[in-house]
């Protein structure tokens, strides 16, 4: 790049310092043995005069004593001693996505190797994952083509401690007589239920029997699509049916019914939903209706005054 003027008026220019092709370095018998074993897929340390295993091997231990000529296979299982999470890698780093550096001590060694630790795919700037900790058990990931360098190990990876277990079976289910009748009502924009001939309670949807009295029910009643929130939960896990996170799922006691039904509540901030809130079903456009509860996207506040707790306490 040609020189250019800076604000202070001094000339500046880009400059690179390079030894093309890199230096040729002798590795000697100790490091050379390590790199040869590494190329062939093995980790070896060297026995020190005091009996320890220095890994990766060096000619002298930290007491300044020459090491023995005995090489000892270590690992591949290894333990993380300390670590550093890199949220934004630099150009010279082994990954272009977040990763960790770690001091890694293979089983059977007394000292540790510095290397990269791959914990999976992360967005740039990602927070340090909880799985990263001292004591994490890891193994090397070998490169397919190895040349006898420390990067013959591509990185280390955690031991497998969990798997995903796919689980799926298929059915063809019948809704049954009572539910079919209820959903047929929903397809017409009506809430249908049964009144028990013994206790007089109205069940929406109907089951065709009264669970209190254990008798069949046949008297059909229609109730309006307005009701009262008896209790609710604020959900923070996204759901395709919900408008956003957080959303509210609530038990709604339809007017004239004696049993609350579970539905979404929207059209009001999650932290303003309350017991006793008056709501009304929000229906999809009529042309989209079918024999399904999906006809109702959710319930929304009507703006009427709240129902006092005493009036709903038996239904909570």
């Amino acid at each position: 790049m040609p020189p250019s003027d800076t604000e202070v008026g001094a000339l500046v220019a880009d400059h690179a310092l390079e030894f093309p092709g890199g230096y040729t370095r002798s590795v000697g018998p100790v490091i050379g043995r390590f790199l040869t074993e590494l190329r062939d897929g093995r980790l070896v340390g060297v026995r020190t005069a005091s009996g320890g295993v220095l890994f990766p091997p060096l000619e002298y231990d930290d007491d300044g004593e020459a090491v023995t000529g005995e090489f000892v296979e270590v690992g591949p299982d290894a333990t993380v001693q300390t670590y550093a999470w890199v949220p934004r890698p630099l150009p010279g780093h082994p990954f272009d996505r977040p990763f960790a550096w770690a001091l890694i001590k293979p089983d059977g060694a007394d000292t540790a190797l510095l290397h990269a630790l791959d914990l999976g795919e992360f967005e740039p700037g990602a927070k340090q994952p909880k799985t990263l900790r001292t004591g994490l058990r890891v193994r090397p990931k070998w490169r397919a083509t190895r040349t006898g360098g420390i990067t013959d190990i591509e990185c280390f990876r955690p031991e497998v401690t969990m798997i995903g277990a796919p689980s799926r079976v298929e059915y063809r289910l019948s809704a049954g007589k009572a539910l079919t009748r209820f959903l047929t009502g929903i397809a017409e924009g009506r809430f249908l239920g049964h009144r028990c001939g013994v206790c007089g309670k109205v069940y929406v949807p109907m089951k065709g029997l009264c669970p209190v009295d254990g008798v069949p029910t046949t008297e059909e009643v229609e109730v309006p699509d307005t009701g009262t929130v008896t209790t609710y939960a604020v959900n923070n896990i996204p759901d395709p049916r919900a408008p956003a996170v957080p959303f509210v799922s609530a038990y709604i006691l339809l007017d004239g019914s004696d049993i609350a039904m579970l539905a979404l509540v929207a059209g009001i901030p999650a932290d303003q939903v309350r017991m006793g809130l008056r709501v009304k079903a929000a229906w999809k456009p009529r042309e989209e209706w079918g024999r399904t509860m999906e006809n109702i996207t959710w319930f929304e506040p009507t703006g009427e005054p709240d129902v006092p707790f005493e009036d709903i306490q038996d239904y909570v």
Partner: protein
């Protein structure tokens, strides 16, 4: 041979390239220290710098232009922080045939990196990979901040909190704002991690600058300075290069250097802690109690003109003695990844 720091000078360090070459940065400092001592020739001259910062081989030789080397002078250079140049000069003075020495160091960390490393220290981070062993470490591309973060994690696992690191950074920056030679850096803010667990304020700022010290022995020291800062002990120790071969949560080399140099009973310690967690390690290693004032200058976290930063610690420690602010002080310098090498200099009125 009783040897003392009799004069100290430094640039007003900048956090960006001011458009001066290293020689142009250094020359006014040499001029100032010559004026202050009235000396124009020294028995020995020794400097510390790093050619890789300028990207030019033998750049330290051009720096001699600032000293004036004709007729030929007795001179040496270390490719290390100039604190080690001071050590060499101290050893040279022990021969007793000369009685003065000039020591200087300089560095521009604004230069490494494509387009300059001023805004972020990425150029310097990558450059420092070149100081690592070429077999096991350099090929990985592990940078300066990543290595420091490994050590910081070891310190945190030893019982410290990230807030302890922030407190070191906050105190250093506050002190730096009160030091006209250091950078004017704000209170640590809500900054994202550079490499976890280190945030940008835990790391040294990009800094350009230079510093010089004059040493003198015996009566010559008393002539040149009203209150010479006598070197009562100076020692440096090194440990294994590989960070995996030592316990990163402590510094045996700093502890040993401190013991040999007599790091006891000091009132002020200037520690060459480039990262905030390094100060915690060094306090422990040197046995500095809570009543010892640490880095009233702001230290390396407030200004890090590399290769002069360690020398400045000794210069600052000597200045407290010169000004009568303390009777016994300590200057420390470090070198290599994760505090591999440590130098301790104990000074006394």
């Amino acid at each position: 041979m009783n040897t003392a720091v009799v004069a100290f000078a430094q640039t007003e360090h900048t956090g960006e390239d001011s458009g001066l070459t290293e020689v142009e940065l250094l020359a006014p400092v040499i001029t100032a220290i010559k004026e202050r001592t009235g000396l124009s020739r020294f028995g020995f001259t020794c400097s510390g710098s790093l050619d890789y910062l300028a990207g030019a081989p033998f750049s330290f030789v051009s720096a001699l232009d600032a000293v004036g080397a004709w007729p030929p002078i007795s001179e040496s250079h270390v490719e290390m922080d100039a604190a080690w140049a001071l050590y060499e000069a101290w050893v040279r003075l022990q021969h007793g045939d000369i009685d003065t020495a000039l020591v200087y160091g300089f560095g521009k960390t604004s230069q490494p990196g494509r387009g300059g490393g001023v805004r972020h220290n990425t150029g310097l981070r990558a450059l420092m990979t070149l100081q690592l062993d070429p077999y096991y470490l350099a090929p990985l591309g592990v940078d300066q901040v990543s290595l420091a973060a490994l050590q910081a994690r070891a310190v945190l696992e030893g019982g410290h909190k990230e807030d302890d690191l922030r407190a070191v950074a906050a105190r250093s920056r506050e002190a730096g704002r009160g030091n006209p030679y250091a950078l004017d850096l704000p209170e640590p803010g809500d900054e994202d991690y550079e490499v976890v667990p280190l945030r940008p304020y835990d790391c040294p700022p990009v800094t350009d600058g230079a510093a010089a010290i004059v040493l003198a022995t015996g009566d010559r020291a008393r002539e040149l300075c009203e209150t010479p800062a006598w070197i009562r002990g100076i020692d440096h120790r090194i440990e294994a290069h590989s960070p995996g071969a030592r316990d990163l949560s402590r510094s045996e080399s700093a502890a040993l250097a401190g013991e040999k140099a007599g790091a006891r009973g000091v009132e002020i310690a200037e520690l060459h802690a480039q990262f905030s967690h390094e100060e915690l390690i060094l306090r422990d290693a040197l046995g500095l109690s809570d009543d010892v004032r640490i880095n009233p200058s702001g230290g390396a976290l407030a200004a890090n003109p590399m290769m002069a930063t360690g020398l400045i610690r000794i210069g600052e420690a000597a200045s407290y003695v010169h000004r009568g602010q303390a009777r016994r002080t300590l200057g420390h310098a470090s070198s290599g990844p994760c505090l591999q090498q440590n130098l301790v200099c104990v000074l006394e009125a």
